[in-house]
């Protein structure tokens, strides 16, 4: 009998369309690794708005410890219905999603953008689009260092502090340069150095310093406002973008839209050191309005498993998933398939 590599996978289906798209991602993961000597041992975690409404918990210490004992995490989407009064005091995004990214030191938020043939771009002349945003995941305006005084009065002052460290910036910048070396050797720093002079200045100095070690990588810099212009006028100019947590959030939604919609955009929250499990999730949210109707496109979740396989060193399995998705997109046309029909079709290509 062949020896088996067992990968312990924590699965967080979450809310809304999360469970539906995760089911298809699991299906494809199994199909891609059948007979490969790798077996996924999956543990489901019931987390999200649903769990909060039942138990009042967002992410307990016990949950976190249990998740840490896994090799990787597959997440669908979290978040309840906007405006649900019972969620008024909950912040599932901060308390669950961002808490996982921060506690598991996911300092690389990896978000590839590729325009696959057949995927409809809203741009008239999109050209070839194939870039990766390396978004910092554990610093910046996301740290939660804010507060307010005189809340609810006409004299309220509400502050939010973006915290940035040389340690945190250098490690993600190094990752981005290494990635650029394996791609088309072009790296663009996006920030707002003319306004955020301290944070932006540090990012710029660190990129310039690390660039000296990579003389073969062409480096440029764009202010975040200018970067959004290029994303719609000349997205082909980008190879690797490295940027802070908030700018990365904005640019990757726009990039997703430009490459055929957020229904195709995959992401990895990666701890490259391997100290903690990395987490793979579609960029889209929980879309409660279409939940449970088999209307969601599971492609982003499925492409996230390609990133997961790659992270686990299963490169050929990863490439097969990407290829199967690419072929499926090319053949889509105007067909309307259910969530599971899309998953089945992609899994079938892997079994063929």
């Amino acid at each position: 009998m062949q020896e088996q590599r067992v990968v312990k996978l924590a699965v967080i289906p979450g809310d809304g369309i999360g469970p539906e798209v995760v089911a298809e991602a699991e299906k494809v993961l199994d199909a891609a690794t059948a007979g490969s000597g790798v077996r996924f041992e999956k543990t489901p975690f019931s987390l999200g708005a649903g769990r909060y409404l039942e138990t009042g918990d967002t992410l307990t210490d016990a949950d976190l410890e249990a998740i840490k004992a896994h090799d990787a995490i597959l997440l669908g989407a979290v978040g309840g219905t906007p405006g649900d009064p019972r969620l008024k005091d909950a912040n599932i995004e901060r308390g669950l999603l961002l808490k996982l990214r921060f506690e598991l030191d996911h300092y690389v938020n990896l978000r590839p953008s590729k325009l696959y043939p057949g995927a409809g771009s809203p741009l008239a002349d999109p050209g070839d689009i194939d870039f990766v945003v390396v978004r910092e995941g554990t610093e910046g305006p996301y740290v939660g260092n804010g507060g307010a005084i005189r809340r609810g009065t006409p004299h309220e002052v509400a502050n939010e502090t973006s915290v940035n460290t040389a340690y945190g910036v250098e490690r993600v910048v190094r990752y981005a340069f290494d990635l650029a070396e394996r791609r088309r050797r072009k790296l663009t720093l996006v920030h707002k150095t003319n306004v955020l002079v301290h944070a932006g200045g540090m990012w710029k100095r660190i990129v310039d310093a690390v660039a000296l070690e990579h003389p073969d990588v062409a480096v440029d810099y764009l202010h975040v406002d200018a970067a959004t212009i290029f994303l719609v006028t000349n997205p082909g100019r980008f190879d690797v973008i490295v940027t802070d947590n908030l700018f990365g959030d904005i640019l990757t939604d726009l990039a997703g839209a430009v490459t055929g919609g957020i229904g195709l955009a995959a992401s990895g929250n990666i701890n490259p050191d391997g100290a903690f499990p990395s987490m793979f999730e579609p960029v889209h949210g929980s879309a409660p309005d279409i939940a449970g109707q088999q209307k969601a496109d599971p492609t982003a979740a499925i492409l996230s498993t390609a990133l997961l396989l790659d992270h686990l060193g299963l490169h050929s399995e990863s490439a097969r998933v990407t290829r199967a998705v690419e072929d499926d997109i090319a053949d889509r046309g105007a067909s309307t398939r259910s969530t599971s029909q899309i998953g089945d079709a992609i899994a079938a290509r892997l079994q063929a």
Copy 2:
């Protein structure tokens, strides 16, 4: 003889293409007001990277006081050649442009986006686009409340604090609602309430409170990342967007790109209280690479004079400028005209 209204206009041509586009804007301003009983008394101010390189000054107290004595300001663009070592320690953007916005309490940064027939959008199916971004201009991450410790060492920490006040948010929100009342009665707040909970929470509460006084205005909310998606997939959904200083910066560059390019995007930095002169400027920068070559499109500067005229209560003159620009754009085709040829053509339409 007809009585004359004299408007004291401070003119800051600035750097790069600034002087070229401002010359055309002045030409159009004169043509639009010829025989109207309004005369512009213009004072040029030599400010920008050029002045800094000559004198070491960015904006002196005397400059500022002299500017304050005017009724309005027309600005071209400021900023030297990127990477110029002599500008290493200067921050013309912060020291001049942002200083003017802050010192003159330009709390409304008004940025209309309209797709004129004939203006090429990069979108395949742009539809009708006609919205206005009301960007807060005196708070948020732009306040310059940042700093760094251990600068240049591996232990550097660089912070940037976004400061937001109920006073500052309420006044710009009220302006946006009033504007929505005069337009299609739809207002969208853009922020990132799920991450920037304190600042975003305050913005949301204030918008909800002011909305009660405007029951006829339909109000919705979008996270900034989602807003960028809609700007390329359904820009027609927007009427008035109200947002913070940084999000407004990003959204308006993207909006400019989507409506035919930043060469057409006008803006007003407005102090609605009239305590200080308001300032009108194209959204684009100084583009030193094409400066002095008559290659720049002066349309954004010219459309900024339409905003200026409107601000001065000269509504029919403003409408005439907009109409002349609209007609010029419709007839442009693939013609390549010089900066002054475009200005001449638009001025000629006003004289006709």
